[in-house]
Symmetry: C2
Subunit: 125 residues, 2 copies
């Protein structure tokens, strides 16, 4: 592979901006490494699940690779529910139903890495 | 995109095996999501930098997207040195010189996500 002409990026946690996500209650999204940083193949986002957060059952057209940064929250994948904690990782394949719920008093957050390109979200509840 | 026939994966932090990395002192590597989990496009690994760890200056043929999980350690990219901390993220483009050094008394660790496929490491010191 040819030497890259891309610019290295060091993004400080405090410099990432988070915004609410319309489809869900108590969910915020920040892009750590994305178009703005010149990522070539996949993007790294961080999602925050506030206490009480509800993200409805949905599918995406791309896979998710996730890493739990903090908290203990529920993830539903197909018909199974998993309570995940810091350090756990998840692969949610493209087209598979999933949802999130934070029933605790503390914030949860996770990284979600996706291949670049279009995605379409379908809500299933 | 067609619905996936892949299997969702939930990997618990405690189930990931770590092994020493030959090229570096005090470096261990665990694969969180890789071939064994059926990842389609990119793999998620976690590297641990023990106190005193030294990873020599090198290049890879693929880009790295990294997320600092714990610790405060030094990353050199080209001719610049950055001390990074939990929550920071980095893009190290393909072909760019980089190194790591943990001069603290506490462990550092980071996620490193790479596109699937061959990589070749060249040590430059």
């Amino acid at each position: 592979m040819a030497e890259s002409d891309q610019t290295p990026q060091v993004r400080r946690a405090a410099d990432v901006e988070y915004e609410s996500v319309d489809l869900a209650e108590g969910l915020r999204k920040g892009v750590l490494l994305g178009d703005g940083q010149g990522t070539p193949n996949f993007d790294m986002r961080r999602f925050v699940l506030e206490p009480g957060a509800r993200v409805p059952r949905h599918t995406n057209e791309v896979e998710h690779e996730q890493f739990v940064v903090e908290g203990d929250y529920a993830v539903g994948i197909d018909e199974e529910t998993h309570t995940v904690s810091a350090g756990d990782s998840l692969l949610i394949p493209a087209g598979v139903d999933h949802w999130y719920r934070n029933d605790t008093d503390t914030r949860g957050s996770f990284l979600c890495i996706v291949p670049k390109g279009d995605d379409r979200i379908e809500i299933h509840e």
